[in-house]
């Protein structure tokens, strides 16, 4: 309860300070801040916005020897090719399902982990768990997929050998497309949960322990403490990360997917990144690669804008 009161207090101070600065010359007050922002600003202009001019090739049949200005213009042909590609439906379906699974299962995993870690009282235990689950992040996808094969292969995989020795049938984990999605999400969780938990742990580091002490005095159970103190403390970070993830809803980890894709699971495993790799990158067709990229980004942008709007409706601070 005290938490909410505090937040209101903060909000009111904020709005009063906004009002004040509007009346005075905010520009002058902002000078030191603008100086601080300048290097970053220049970075964005030089290394992000100038190159963005290259997006014009989405409307061209880009030829590296002719350059951006002299390559033949094709209008919306590339977009037309993408939108009329009979595979588009499949790509969208696969991407959205995998993304959805990521958001439902993979996104909360590190949050849960961070909360559990913060609830552990033995420091050595917390630290060891934290360090160990953080390690897989440093294995490349090639290695993670290799380990998966060693464990799950049909012919000689560890798990299947075990199943057979226990008198069960071997299961085609890797070549049966039904297992693909579960495999993909579990690999993500295995590799990245511990790593992604860091950011939430950092957010929890800012919580005032007195809040918990007060809660104990009020007789709140541990569950209630998590619910009323820990979760609210994570709220703004969770919201921001969630919105930003929505912007990348069609990015599913190109390297990862390419490594676990095979002809048998292609029907569920083909996503935009692998599609564009096949149809653009490998052919040196930068125009088409860019077109697909723009398409993905526009969808991401729309989702971010919607989510941001929604966040503000619920009275939270969005990403812009």
């Amino acid at each position: 309860m005290r938490m909410e009161i505090k937040e209101e207090a903060v909000e009111s101070t904020a709005s009063s300070s906004v009002a004040r600065s509007r009346s005075s010359s905010a520009w002058i007050r902002g000078i030191p801040i603008y100086v601080m922002i300048l290097p970053g600003f220049l970075y964005f202009v030089i290394f992000r916005y100038i190159p963005m001019g290259g997006l014009v090739i989405a409307f061209q049949e880009y030829d590296p020897f002719l350059g951006f200005l002299n390559s033949p213009w094709t209008g919306l042909d590339n977009f037309h090719r993408l939108l009329t590609d009979p595979d588009l439906g499949m790509l969208l379906r696969n991407s959205l399902i995998l993304s959805g699974l990521n958001l439902i299962l993979f996104f909360p995993a590190p949050i849960l982990l961070a909360i559990m870690l913060s609830e552990v009282s033995r420091s050595w235990f917390r630290k060891s768990v934290q360090t160990i689950i953080y390690m897989p992040h440093f294995l490349s996808w090639v290695i993670v997929v290799n380990i998966t094969v060693v464990l799950f292969a049909t012919q000689d995989g560890g798990i299947n050998n075990l199943l057979e020795s226990l008198g069960f049938q071997r299961i085609e984990f890797l070549t049966d497309s039904h297992y693909f999605r579960a495999l993909y999400v579990l690999q993500n969780i295995w590799k990245e949960s511990g790593w992604s938990a860091i950011i939430f742990l950092a957010a929890l580091a800012g919580v005032n322990p007195m809040l918990y002490e007060a809660a104990v005095v009020d007789g709140a159970s541990r569950w209630r403490q998590v619910w009323h103190i820990t979760l609210p403390a994570l709220k703004s970070t969770v919201i921001i990360l969630f919105i930003l993830r929505l912007g990348q809803v069609l990015d599913l980890g190109f390297e990862h997917i390419l490594l676990i894709q095979n002809p048998v699971n292609l029907g569920v495993a083909d996503v935009f990144d692998t599609y564009v790799y096949r149809n653009g990158v490998l052919q040196g067709n930068f125009s088409y690669s860019t077109t697909v990229g723009v398409f993905k980004s526009v969808i991401g942008l729309v989702l971010i804008m919607l989510a941001n709007r929604l966040t503000k409706v619920f009275g939270q601070e969005g990403v812009y």
Binding site: L38, G53, L69, T175, V264
Partner: protein, 525 residues
């Protein structure tokens, strides 16, 4: 903040550059080229003048070479071979080898920036696409001045391959054509009292016996007949070419009645082939993981687990790595060459590569550099250079011990053989034979190649171009493979192959066939 000023000014300049693409010099030349692509490239004019005193190496030159890496070491400027070459040719050689998955991207970026390296490796699609744009130096006028280039790279015909008449825009990167063949566990055959299989039916009986009759005698049903994988972009099989050939399938593209046809359209042959593999899969003869195997997995499984009866063998590698490794797993293991089994109609064929990669010299660089590069290339192919690029520098990479040679650690660490493995080498079966290799091994390797030679099974469209294939070939081939593999794994009925063939033709296969045939007819004239 001050140092940002020059950078931001530079950025403004950069905008101008982007618009023009590349250095102002380059973009001008590019523009010229694009306007008259049919006329000769600007630089060929220079190089057509015979070089009178090419021994002039007084000026130290920076030489940039870019090629594809297949693993192993990187080029190091400190290595003995680098120092040797830098001194011998008065150059500062930068040799970049980057892995295949990034190569295409980097090369295209460099193309766009007008920043090609001085010499680089180009794969078939890019070579055909860029060949006539004046970016590769035409070697035809000068090739005679470099005798080793004309002598050791397969001669006129091979140099001319994939080039317009009278032009030579690149030097071929040699690959042994009939490089692999089946090896079979002789000790298993003997144990089970079986004969060497000669037909595809016998092949099946033998591999089935390997899978079911416990050839390794450990009382467990853990062996299988043969393994396979897919090629890297998953458009074809790898390691079972002799089986494909036996059923009458062509190697990607083949000639039937004067016309090019694709293996994707050989419905009858495909059905026979798929039926065969389906049976093998069901009965545990074929590796259950063939669809997810990486290219090298079947070989690893053969040599490290000792549970497979057949392997697709690269002879060099076989004697240097497979035999010793396999001996550790099973001291009785003995592998012998198995010639391609005869199909129902008596057809036989062995896995066959096409030589389509080219090393090109940048047409835009100074003539000095071009000449220096050509001299270096000429040297790489000389007797001395051949030894140098395969075995490294004496005293650093190997040493002489009595009348024998011994390899030193630096050889592997410095990648002293990078030039021969990744860039340029003679058309010579001994691509991987070093000074210190045992002569019996060398003659054994030669024997494998010789035995294989008669069963060449070439891709008839190797040097030909089809824009449709470049654009969507991979996609439709992958889809086709998906059906074929599902049929083999029993997830789809054999009848689905007919639909897959029809779908492949409709999705662009017919167009590809037409384009390849047009290109093919043009070469036949």
């Amino acid at each position: 903040m001050k140092r940002w000023l020059p950078i931001s000014i530079a950025a403004v300049l950069a905008m101008g550059t982007i618009a023009g693409c590349g250095d102002s010099n380059d973009s001008k030349t590019n523009a010229v080229n694009s306007e008259n692509t049919n006329s000769t490239a600007p630089s060929s004019e220079q190089s057509s003048e015979p070089d009178s005193d090419k021994a002039d190496q007084s000026k130290k030159l920076d030489i940039d070479i870019l090629t594809i890496s297949y693993g192993g070491a990187n080029w190091s400027n400190d290595s003995a071979i680098a120092q040797f070459l830098n001194q011998k040719f008065n150059v500062n050689l930068k040799f970049q080898a980057i892995s295949q998955d990034n190569y295409e991207e980097k090369l295209n970026v460099l193309a766009a920036a007008g920043n090609f390296p001085d010499a680089f490796l180009v794969q078939k699609p890019d070579y055909l696409k860029w060949r006539d744009k004046g970016v590769f130096l035409d070697l035809a006028p000068v090739i005679d001045q470099y005798p080793n280039l004309s002598q050791y790279l397969g001669g006129k015909e091979s140099l001319q391959f994939m080039n317009p008449p009278g032009k030579i825009y690149g030097l071929p990167y040699y690959q042994i054509e009939t490089q692999t063949s089946f090896g079979i566990r002789k000790d298993w055959l003997d144990k089970l009292g079986l004969q060497m299989p000669t037909t595809i039916d016998e092949f099946y009986d033998v591999t089935k016996a390997f899978a079911t009759q416990d050839p390794d005698g450990d009382g467990k049903a853990d062996t299988y007949g043969f393994s396979a994988s897919l090629v890297q972009n998953k458009t074809d099989f790898k390691h079972i070419d002799p089986i494909k050939a036996a059923f009458g399938l062509v190697n990607n593209w083949g000639v039937k009645d004067g016309q090019l046809i694709s293996w994707h359209t050989q419905t009858k042959e495909l059905e026979d082939f798929a039926t065969f593999l389906n049976k093998a899969y069901k009965e545990g003869v074929l590796d259950k993981d063939f669809a997810i195997n990486k290219v090298k997995d079947p070989q690893d499984k053969y040599e490290t687990a000792g549970k497979v009866g057949i392997d697709d063998v690269v002879p060099n590698n076989f004697y240097q790595a497979i035999v010793p490794k396999l001996k550790k797993v099973d001291p009785n293991a003995e592998t012998v060459q198995l010639l391609p089994p005869k199909g129902p109609t008596g057809l036989q064929g062995t896995s066959t590569n096409s030589i389509t990669q080219k090393i090109v010299i940048n047409a835009k660089i100074d003539k000095d550099k071009q000449d220096r590069l050509l001299e270096m290339f000429n040297y790489f192919l000389s007797d001395e250079g051949d030894v140098l690029t395969k075995s490294g520098v004496e005293g650093a990479d190997y040493k002489k011990d009595g009348d024998k040679y011994v390899k030193l650690d630096a050889f592997d660490q410095d990648g002293a053989n990078l030039i021969s493995t990744l860039l340029l080498r003679r058309f010579d079966l001994h691509t991987q034979i070093h000074l210190w290799d045992d002569p019996t091994t060398v003659s054994n390797v030669d024997q494998w190649f010789k035995n294989n030679e008669p069963f060449k099974w070439a891709d008839a469209a190797a040097g030909l171009e089809s824009p449709t294939a470049t654009k969507i070939g991979t996609t439709i081939d992958q889809k086709f493979m998906a059906t074929l593999i599902k049929v083999i794994m029993g997830d789809q009925p054999i009848g689905d192959i007919e639909q897959a063939v029809a779908q492949w033709k409709k999705d662009g296969g017919d167009q590809m066939t037409k384009e390849y045939n047009d290109a093919y007819q043009a070469t036949q004239k």
